[in-house]
Amino acid sequence: MSADFLNTNPRNIDSGVMDRGHENRKHGGVIFALGLLVATLALVAVGTIWPNQQDSGVAEPKAKLIISASSPQDAVNNLLQQIARREWHSAYELLGNKGEFSETEFRSDLTGDYGSLRSYAMLNQFDLQPLHASADQALIRAHLLWSSVVGTFGDSRDLHVVRNGRRWEVNWPIVKQTRVPPQVIPVNYLRWDVIYRGPEDDWGAQDVEAPHVRIVAMHPVDRAGEVILMGELLNEDVVPAFVTVKATLLDSKGAALGTEDAFDRISHVLLPKQVTPFRVDFHNIRMSQVDSIRMQPSSNLVPASADPVIGIESQQLNPLPNASLTGQLVNQSGQVVNVAHVIGTFYDGGGQIVWVADQYPSRALLPGTPVPFQISLPADISSKVKTYRVVTTTYISSRIQ
């Protein structure tokens, strides 16, 4: 709204100017309306000629099943809704290639085995992208978004959909889970047990010393309006340590702006001479507010095991547009790892830490069986990364390590 429209004092309005103004605005309105009409018609035409190739859905446990799969999208939608409801039998019955695998194998493909992250995940959302379609078959890429206790993870499947009479059926691209053949794997088991000071000891009796840990690198960055602290912590002792890193940002008067800890962006159990990256995020605090930082690493002596040993093989940096670090985890021990956590530290050419990121592979690590992982990198960071280092943490249902 212009200032003239707000000026209601008649003494300030020239009648001739006002008339010309009304005339101009009238013509402008007609032109605008015509332009809008033309644009609308053009968009309708574009939409008709090149229809939208994307379809998406929100997995609703109570969503109604579209019984008549009269199109490939309907068939895939029906299937994914059943999967979201964890109705494995119903989902299996909808498949067109049931003869290629059993219902157990189908379920195992979706939920994983051995109490992995996938076992407790729910299909939260999916996007469908038709890649190809003909009268009798279609190829649809389904992007599945699963929600788990440690966040979401994606899963992409190319689904062949075939016409069977009047119905469309999905041929599920089964990924059969590797089975480890029965065998005996000898392991020299190494663990530490701790006897702490008891209540009957006198006050001068010493307790076991807490492990000595040291922050060997620390780098704060200002990113998207928040402060991110990244660094590395070394266990320089000869015993295992349970470590945490807490950081407090201080302003110029020494007042605390905020205190956070690394939560799960750290490997909490460190064996002797082991190094873990850590990352502490401070939301809603800008670097310009920060005068100093108080770091508080802490360590406790805990019973721990040196196993399992996880090899991180074929690590490779992938360029844009999907900047990431990919590789494979190989469990070199005889114990099944239910959930693995991969943490990557990324350095620039000068050896400065520029990013710390992590990922939880959704499948369990079976002995000797590679499991892929992918740590995504922000586009602006990926160009700076020259070297990297990856560590893993393992969680085993019978014990937390």
Binding site: L190, A205, Q206, L271, I310, E313
Partner: protein, 293 residues
């Protein structure tokens, strides 16, 4: 009070009380200025009649019915907390009080021995500190100077000896850790009373790492280090992480392996031309260019 006494004496009914007050006014008792904790002693009183004695000190209070003119005896278990005491003698409405001190017993009974750290690397000069607090048998801190001897005996029979004199009940010493790893017994002794702590002397950082490689089944290469030792020849403890890194064609494979029985071993993909290295902490080992043999 004394000025009002004649008027009270004028009342026949209170004659007996008046006499008692007069006796208490004449009661005297004298404590020694300092008493050793746990010692037997007695205090003479003067006057006549019965009285109550109250003794109030740190952590304890006593009440005694005493006969004025007789000695008040204290046993070994009566006063054992060191500190400042107040004794109050009450006879009727009259009271007297004296103050005295109870000092720690002259014979040490126990040592509070703080040895830090409980675990440290070998060859650390003045790395071990020992602090002794000298207590008597009643747990009182002995403030008088005492000669304290410290001995640090390592696992191979070597020993360091140091002496110190306590001051205000505390003696302090620093010792070096031994060149050989193992449990060391750190002992402090005062007049036959001693306390022992165990100090775990652990190997230092690895001095060097030497790794060998040989083919393994399934297109893998088997890597194994020689026994890893620190610069003093001590075997580095099992569990210490050795990181193996293989670089080939822009791809990297790594594995962190704990030492077991002194060596670290693992398998990585066998790629001709791959460069394989090993490291533990900040110590780098040798590098191998894998050629398939």
């Amino acid at each position: 009070m004394k000025k009002r006494t004649p008027s009270l004496c004028a009342l026949p009914m209170l004659l007996a009380l008046c006499l008692t007050q007069l006796a208490a006014a004449q009661a005297e008792f004298r404590f020694p200025a300092t008493v050793e904790a746990g010692s037997e002693f007695s205090v003479a009183t003067s006057g006549s009649g019965e009285a109550s004695l109250y003794i109030v000190g740190p952590g304890e209070a006593l009440e005694r019915k005493v006969q004025l003119g007789e000695k008040i005896s204290f046993g070994a278990e009566d006063l054992h907390n060191a500190g400042h005491y107040v004794a109050i003698l009450i006879a009727g409405a009259s009271s007297r009080s004296v103050q005295f001190d109870v000092a720690a017993s002259s014979r040490p009974g126990a040592l509070g021995f703080l040895a830090k750290p409980s675990r440290l690397a070998v060859n650390r000069e003045n790395g071990i500190s020992g602090v002794v607090y000298i207590f008597d048998t009643f747990g009182n801190l002995e403030l008088s100077p005492r000669d304290v001897s410290f001995q640090l005996a390592d696992a191979i029979g070597g020993a360091q000896l140091r002496n110190a004199t306590s001051r205000e009940g505390v003696a302090f010493v620093q010792m070096n850790s031994a060149p050989k790893a193992g449990a060391a017994h750190f002992q402090a002794a005062v007049d036959g009373v001693h306390a022992t702590r165990v100090i775990e002397q652990v190997p230092g950082d690895p001095c060097s790492i030497r790794m060998t490689a040989r083919p393994a089944a399934g297109q893998r290469v088997r890597l194994q280090t020689d026994p890893v030792r620190d610069c003093g020849g001590n075997p580095v403890p099992d569990g210490t992480i050795v990181s193996f890194t293989e670089t080939y064609g822009g791809r990297v494979s790594t594995v962190d392996v704990p030492l077991k029985r002194g060596v670290a071993q693992t398998e990585l993909p066998a790629e001709n031309g791959a460069v394989i290295s090993a490291a533990a902490g900040v110590v780098l080992g040798n590098e191998i260019r894998w050629s398939g043999r």
